[in-house]
Amino acid sequence: MSPPEQTAAVPSKLTPTSVRSLGHQCAQRGREYGVLAVFAALFVALSLSSDAFLTTTNLLNIVDQWAAIGIIALAATLVLISGGFDLSVAAVFSVTGVIAAKLATSMGVAPALALGVLSGLGFGLLNGLAVVGWKVNSIIATLATGIVIGGIATNLTGGNLITVADTGFTALGQNELLGITLPTWFFAITAVLLGFLLHKTVYGRYVYAVGGNIEAARLSGVRTGRITIAAYGISGLAAGFAGVMVASQQATGQAGAAPNLVFDVVAAVIVGGTSILGGSGAIWRTVVGIGLLALIQNGATLLSLDETYRQMITGAIILCAAAIDVWARSRTGGA
């Protein structure tokens, strides 16, 4: 979020640019949305080339399918903006589903689900502590904790699926509200909540500051450690929630449930245009990034693209989207 549209509050006589700043800002606004343009173009192209695309069912399906990855990616946006990486999300996603499914067989469904989600928060906070307390690079720290957590998941399942028949258990992932599946609602709610958190609150500001220049943030009195730990906590919570949601949807807890999750998540966030260097990015960008990946996959199925071409086209679109976004933004000289 940027502050409300307004020209320079203090007319600066030093810069010859201030008179141009209104026009400049408009241009900048437009150009910041490079990735959105790519998304829109793909959307239109699919609408034209497949009758099945622009139907309520299909569009709702798309969101529902990407809800879990989306929720994780939204939280990952925070982590990336704070200058870190969370590669453990795939493992957390699996283990929380396993925990929920396993507990559901021995206790009430509701506490089982809740404990599954909370375990995600716990793993996330541990990640944060490792990164902050031991000062270990986040990629290596979360790669390592991911392996450990994956081991725990395997251990809990013994290599099997844990199937839960209880309809209470499957409600979270399968039920609908106003004709829209709960996962879709959860995705939307997460986007709004995290968008608010990141763009309107002091905590959000600090996330940007920590990622942009941690030393500056520290000097300004920001307790950077807490900010970072909280970001990993949120990431773990989101992965845990998504894991439980999918376990519920699939009525199954499974170790190694999401081999490509990390790639999808990172791709979604970065395609959206959030920088891996930290300090810049936005929630809407990740929503668009998820949308782009979702459209590509959906389109491939609808147009019956051969697998090999699907892969090539997916890669090409991601690359082009990133390039166009870079190009559009470079024209503003801005972030």
Partner: protein
């Protein structure tokens, strides 16, 4: 539009099914391995419940959902495509990288877009797909599954989803048990007989159940001693590594059992490099091209029969027939379609599979 036709090194199946099949004709169905025998199927339904050929009718649009970069799926696809082109059907392939959500999405999108008249699926995570399958069955669209068992219980080939048209699977339990039989034979006369097991991964239920059945069966023989378990990711390189490490830890292994030919290839390299070719008997799984040659040459002791192309043909015939109105609900352990062929190919029973053309290059 989909260029999924198989590559040149794939052994040509001897598909000679008669195109003159009458509508709904029953009788022995002709598969790439020859004619199946009816009525002798301990593990499931009778393969002859599938019509020899589908009735004639409108073009059937088949959606084929399987694993990407998977030789088993490719071989099955070959069977599906050949059958489809013979009986007036088109095939669209949608692959997933062993990812349940991707497969789920592909199915949902296809259902929403009403793309196919019949679905042939290798189900990655059956519980997740069940609601989608029910939706299809309710609409009267046939669903057939192959490869992996479509249901929570993968010890049986019987159909677990009501209304499903056909399931062919080589259940992990029977597969593990068959491999165990070969291993026990290979251990004959040795006491103790040290066995090493090479699995694919620890996180797939399919693999876990196969390994469980295998060890349970091996435990029944008092002289057999499982001394090591490694993981080869169903790939040659990691299998070689795993085997090297196993041999370092347990230098006097007598028998190696692997859960896939491709892993055996890697493990064999490690055995050869360690100079233990004569010491270790290799029990493999898949009966692919490499395995058939290695067993004939006496390098491997055995390989357990897997017939992916048969599964493809059966699925396609059933899917097309059902789409044209024929009703059936058949669950077949694909091994029951092997006709005269043995459960495990070994050097001793070469006579029984002299003419056998392996259906794939091996898992």
């Amino acid at each position: 539009a989909c260029g999924g036709s198989s590559s040149s090194d794939e052994p040509a199946g001897s598909a000679t099914a008669t195109a003159r099949a009458a509508a709904g004709a029953k009788g022995p169905i002709t598969l790439p391995t020859g004619k199946v025998k009816c009525g002798e199927t301990p593990n499931g339904d009778d393969p002859c419940l599938v019509p020899a050929a589908p009735p004639e009718g409108e073009e059937v649009r088949i959606g084929f959902f399987a694993l990407a970069n998977n030789t088993f799926a490719s071989a099955a696809e070959k069977g599906v495509r050949e059958t489809a082109s013979k009986y007036g059907a088109t095939v669209t392939t949608l692959l997933n990288p062993f990812n349940p959500s991707v497969q789920q999405a592909q199915l949902r999108d296809s259902i929403a877009a009403n793309k196919f008249d019949a679905y042939i699926v290798e189900p990655v995570n059956p519980p997740a797909l069940a609601p989608l399958f029910k939706q299809l069955i309710d609409k009267g669209i046939p669903v057939t599954t192959f490869g992996l068992t479509n249901g929570p219980d993968d010890s049986t080939a019987r159909i677990q989803l009501e209304g499903q048209t056909l399931q062919t699977s080589r259940t992990p339990v029977s597969q593990g048990q068959d491999a165990a039989k070969a291993a026990v034979e290979a251990c004959d006369g040795k006491d103790p007989c040290k066995v090493a097991i090479l699995r694919g991964t620890a996180v797939l239920a399919f693999d876990t159940n196969m390994a469980k059945a295998l060890t349970a069966e091996l435990d029944k023989s008092s002289n057999v001693d499982v001394v090591a378990t490694g993981f080869g990711q169903y790939l040659g390189g990691p299998s070689r590594t795993a085997m090297q490490n196993i041999l370092t830890a347990e230098p006097d292994v007598d028998v190696l059992v692997t859960l896939g030919d491709q892993m055996t290839v890697g493990a064999e390299q490690a055995i050869r490099a360690a100079g233990k070719t004569d010491q270790i008997k290799i029990v493999s799984m898949g009966a692919g091209t490499t395995a058939a040659k290695a067993v004939k040459d006496g390098r491997w002791y055995s390989s357990t029969m897997v017939l992916p192309q048969n599964e493809g043909v059966l699925n396609a015939v059933a899917a097309i027939a059902a789409a044209r109105g024929q009703e059936m609900s058949v669950g077949i352990a694909s091994i029951d379609t092997r006709g005269e062929l043995p459960l495990n190919i070994t050097r001793d029973n070469t006579a029984e599979w002299q003419e056998f053309v392996p259906q794939w290059s091996g898992l």
